[in-house]
């Protein structure tokens, strides 16, 4: 393919130029150059992916720089899909960032912010094209470090450094697991190409160990429960366009890595692999949304939803892996396609939501939902964009979240095809949990949108909010259009995704079997639906109903009056329902999980206790995995560190003794090992 190398060069050059330009230029010019170069790079990457997928032939492009650096790149269907994902979100984020970073001028280092953003995009793009372990790991580390530094942008804000520390600690634990995994797969030689790893036949125990390590490493990056604790800390404190990129794309690298290693390199495995992924996915989805419900920091709420959606993606992939182990390849492809479809959908709507939250933060200066309200009148466009994102993430038809969840549901329903009924009964449980998750997500986004944008402002900041600048709106609009487009076109997206998977890990090339007909009827499953017709019907009805009312002569008068408040005149924001109150019923229902601590102190009037002067109510929840898992872990770590510190005597001679001893031991081992 002629254009492919060209596009690759443009993409790499764009990102590199962006990084350099950020360091060189300042002010609006600098921001413009950063945004422009990143946009060029992202669009080139997008085109590259589209060209590869559109051509329909899987590996189209290989480049090896082996002699010089040990780097090797290769582009196949899966890489192309993720390149598109990076390009889509990267482009929107680049444009949005131009307006958003204006407020950073003079406060934080814009040079590093711009440079690191481009480095992050570059390392992501290289990551998905890596063709050997060394390239993969180097890109992975570059991605982790640049994301770490980006999280640290607002380093003087409380909590930022702590969040970044958590992030880097967990991500490096994952990195260690990945290095070990690749060492296992490549028998100690990291420059072994992926093709050789595919061909290698390993003992089952080694494969199992590699899978577990991969699941740990990629799960830590993806933010799967219980390795997700960094996610709700780190994503909110990063600049909002970076949050969008992190939630939309960076955590998806965990999904990419898992697919690349388990399906492609290992070629699938026993049923328990899939079962484990499915179980982790189910737990992540449910816990993610349950903790999101209790969150009143808008960006933290969105971050918890990332955990939820990663869970849904893992459900699809896990089901796919299970089907693959039973030889049901059509269903297996369908499950993974469902997971991938949700991956790109989540990238679009979560990117959109984070950008929307960024606009709100930009306008009001706070992330606390309890201080917002009434923004729909002050920033109507942002409100509309956020509403589209909220509907999409709540899986409401005809938007994209529904399309992919429908596909995942259908995959799970196909679970009855598994010959072992005691394994098959896992599927209805997953179906129920997925349904509960999506119902709770809808409840959570009624809260998020309703409390943030509707009714009366709860603070002066919210009252004086302003609409986001044009460039930020452009960034959001592009994602809105994608949310709608991806929702309307499952009949086109599903075959495309099927073709991107063809040939991976013995998955049957089922792409042809996914029909391009309007009603999406996927082989091997039960259902049938047609998103475009559904949307058309809804739109027709929406237009018809007012028309019919007018024709029939319904009364059209409209009077504006105060909200009814039991006869009280003059409604204030204090009479509104708050986010805490909104979530209260669900907190009661799931009290055994949340174990909320309550603290109520009332100041009575000195004369009589029937007159209350002030009430202070505080309620907190402490997530159980922190309680059960991380607190003991940290405690133990601290204890171990204290003990190790005793080695540190402060005397130079002591250190020299250590070094000498170490040298002696090494020499001994080297001499007699063989």
């Amino acid at each position: 393919m002629a254009p492919a190398p060209l596009l690759l060069a443009v993409m790499l050059a764009g990102y590199a130029a962006g990084a350099l330009a950020a360091l060189a230029a300042r002010g609006a010019l600098g921001r413009g150059l950063v945004a422009g170069c990143a946009l060029v790079g992202a669009l080139a990457g997008l085109l590259l992916g589209a060209v590869c997928l559109g051509a329909g032939l899987a590996p189209t492009f290989t480049a090896s720089f082996l002699p010089l650096t040990g780097l090797a790149l290769r582009l196949d269907g899966l890489s192309a899909f993720f390149l598109i994902l990076i390009g889509v979100v990267g482009a929107a984020v680049a444009v949005y960032g131009f307006g958003y970073t204006e407020a950073y001028e003079g406060r934080y280092s814009l040079r590093w912010l711009g440079a690191l953003l481009n480095v992050l995009l570059l390392s992501l793009s290289v990551q998905v094209m890596a063709d050997n372990a060394l390239t993969f790991l180097m890109a992975w580390e570059a991605m982790s470090l640049s994301a770490y530094l980006l999280v640290l942008t607002e380093h003087d804000q409380p909590g930022t450094v702590r969040a970044a520390n958590w992030y880097i600690a967990i991500t490096h634990a994952g990195f260690a697991a990945l290095v070990a995994m690749f060492l296992l797969l490549s028998a100690g030689e990291l420059t072994t190409s992926f093709a050789a790893m595919r061909a290698a036949s390993l003992a089952p125990q080694v494969r199992d160990a590699a899978f577990v390590l991969a699941l740990f490493g990629f799960g830590a990056k993806a933010g799967v429960v219980p390795l997700h604790v960094w996610l709700p800390m780190a994503h909110p404190v990063a600049p909002s366009h970076v949050s969008a990129l992190m939630s939309g794309v960076v955590i998806k690298m965990g999904v990419y890595g898992l697919l690349r290693v388990t399906i492609d390199l290992l070629g699938g495995g026993p049923a328990w692999w899939g079962g484990l992924v499915l179980g982790l996915g189910t737990v992540s989805a449910l816990l993610g949304v349950l903790y999101a419900l209790m969150e009143h920091d808008l960006k933290r709420l969105l971050a918890y939803h990332s955990v939820e959606n990663i869970g849904i993606i893992f459900i699809g992939i896990g089901a796919g892996l299970m089907f693959q182990s039973y030889g049901l390849t059509t269903l297996a492809t369908l499950g993974i396609v469902g997971g991938l479809y949700h991956t790109i959908n989540h990238a679009c709507f979560k990117g959109l939501l984070f950008l929307g939250a960024g606009s709100v933060l930009h306008a009001t200066g706070t992330r606390n939902m309890e201080e917002m309200g009434g923004l729909i009148k002050r920033m109507p466009r942002t409100a509309f964009f956020f509403l589209v994102g909220a509907c999409a993430i709540s899986a409401l038809p005809p938007l994209n979240g529904f399309a992919s969840e429908w596909l995942v549901f259908q995959t799970l329903l196909g679970g009855s095809a598994i010959p072992q009924p005691e394994v098959a009964v896992i599927m209805p449980i997953a179906v129920a949990m997925l349904a509960l998750t999506s119902g709770l997500a809808a409840a959570c986004f009624v809260k998020a949108f309703g409390i943030t944008f509707l009714a009366i402002p709860r603070s002066p900041e919210a009252e004086h909010a302003h609409e986001a600048p044009r460039s930020m709106q452009v960034g959001m609009v592009s994602l809105v259009l994608l949310c709608v487009g991806l929702g309307l076109a499952p009949f086109a997206v599903v075959p495309l995704l099927g073709s991107s998977l063809a040939g991976l890990g013995g998955l049957a090339p089922t792409a042809v079997a996914f029909t391009l007909a309007l009603p999406l009827h996927v082989p091997g499953t039960f259902g049938q639906m047609s998103a475009p017709l559904l949307a058309l019907g809804l739109a027709l009805l929406l237009a018809l109903v007012p028309l019919v009312l007018r024709v029939l002569g319904a009364d059209r008068r409209l009077r504006v009056a105060d909200t009814w408040g039991c006869g009280r005149i003059g409604q204030t924001a204090r009479m509104e329902y708050t986010a805490t109150a909104f979530a209260e019923p669900l907190r009661r229902v799931f009290a055994e999980l949340y174990r909320p601590s309550r603290d109520l102190s009332i100041d009575f009037h000195p004369a009589s206790k029937y007159f209350v002067q002030s009430i202070e109510y505080r309620s907190e929840i402490h997530p159980w995995f922190e309680r059960v898992l991380y607190d003991p872990l940290l405690h133990g770590l601290r204890g171990a560190a204290t003990r190790v510190r005793r080695l540190q005597g402060g005397s130079v001679h002591l250190y020299l003794v250590y070094m000498t001893l170490a040298l002696l031991v090494l020499l001994t081992v080297a001499r007699w090992r063989t």
């Binding site: 009434g374 729909i376 509403l387 509907c391 899986a395 409401l396 529904f402 429908w406 259908q410 329903l413 009924p421 209805p428 129920a432 949990m433 997925l434 349904a435 509960l436 119902g439 709770l440 809808a442 409840a443 009624v446 309703g450 509707l454 009714a455 009366i456 009603p519 009827h521 039960f526 259902g527 049938q528 639906m529 047609s530 017709l533 559904l534 019907g537 809804l538 009805l541 929406l542 109903v545 009312l549 029939l552 319904a554 009364d555 008068r557 409209l558 009077r559 504006v560 009056a561 909200t563 009814w564 409604q571 924001a573 509104e576 329902y577 909104f582 979530a583 209260e584 019923p585 229902v589």
Partner: protein
């Protein structure tokens, strides 16, 4: 062609019958409680009156408040095109399956809850919060009931389920079906705001869910919402009636079978309305925090339904 005509006719029939169905339940309930009760066509009069009244909108409300009734109404009416009310198979059967139906209804609930929050009234917020809680907790039961039906019918598309049950009548009496029916019946009560989850007849703030949410609505907006709620009841009744006891549904699309279909549909509605009326007379409303217990009971029923479908495979 006849299929498309039937689709429209079926939706129109649903729209026309729905208020009468609500009136029928109310009338039966009144008779059971030794009251004379308003006639069954009272809801038509109410709707007519509401459509002729002026709308009062809160000064805090935004465009969303004014758009929500239309979204709710449109999504509910869209569902009537997908549900087999009179005949199968209809041309729109492939447009949406049972999952689409569930999520379309959730779309309406979502917008109605947002509209409840929009005027900034504490009642609206309370109603919205409770409505979403109940809706979310009912979701797993619905999904499992769908699973049970799909297992025995081999499809989630409604026309297929009806056709399959008709060809294998034994399936209708299978334990999986019966348990799924029981589970879905409880969900019907929850989703349509009937006792013991919600009380459709009260405006007492401690007990109301749906009524609290739409407290700020008036005039034609209220009419649309009430009508949509009635259609929702009819949809659930048709699902209960036609998915589990499909006899009477026309498969040949001839005038004779269609007459039978209408007659059997009305008969099923009367039976179900009677069941709801008896239930609402016999039991009191549950405390709000007992509702999750009821829903988890329905969840267990649905889980049993799936299990016994697996058992008999």
């Amino acid at each position: 062609m006849i299929g498309y005509v039937l689709e429209v006719a079926q939706a129109a029939l649903a729209l026309v019958l729905a208020p009468g169905l609500v009136g029928l339940v109310r009338w039966m309930k009144a008779r059971l409680q030794n009251r004379r009760g308003a006639p069954a066509w009272q809801p038509y009069r109410e709707l007519g009156k509401l459509f002729r009244k002026e709308v009062v909108v809160s000064s805090n409300a935004s465009w969303l408040f004014r758009a929500a009734p239309f979204v709710v109404f449109a999504s509910t009416v869209a569902v009537t095109f997908l549900v087999p009310i009179l005949a199968v198979p209809l041309p729109f059967d492939g447009v949406g399956d049972l999952l689409v139906v569930v999520y379309l209804l959730l779309l309406g609930t979502f917008f109605l809850s947002l509209a409840g929050l929009d005027p900034g009234s504490p009642f609206g917020g309370m109603g919205a919060s409770r409505e979403m809680t109940v809706a979310a907790l009912a979701e797993p039961t619905v999904a499992l009931a769908i699973f049970a039906l799909a297992l025995s019918a081999g499809s989630t598309n409604l026309g297929q389920i009806v056709a399959r049950t008709m060809t294998a009548p034994g399936a209708a009496l299978s334990p999986g079906h019966l348990l799924a029916f029981a589970a879905l019946f409880i969900v019907t009560l929850a989703e349509t705001g009937r006792l013991p989850i919600d009380n459709p007849a009260t405006h007492l703030e401690l007990t109301m869910i749906h009524e609290a949410m739409i407290l700020e609505y008036s005039g034609r907006y209220l009419a649309l919402i009430e009508w949509a709620a009635a259609v929702k009841l009819l949809i659930f009744f048709s699902l209960l009636g036609n998915l589990f006891v499909p006899w009477g549904v026309s498969m040949a699309l001839t005038p004779g079978t269609l007459v039978v279909a209408v007659a059997s549909l009305l008969a099923k509605f009367v039976v179900l309305a009677g069941a709801v009326a008896v239930l609402e007379t016999r039991i009191a409303k549950l405390r709000l925090f007992r509702v999750p217990e009821l829903l988890s009971a329905s969840f267990v029923l649905a889980l049993l339904a799936v299990t016994s479908s697996f058992l008999l495979r």
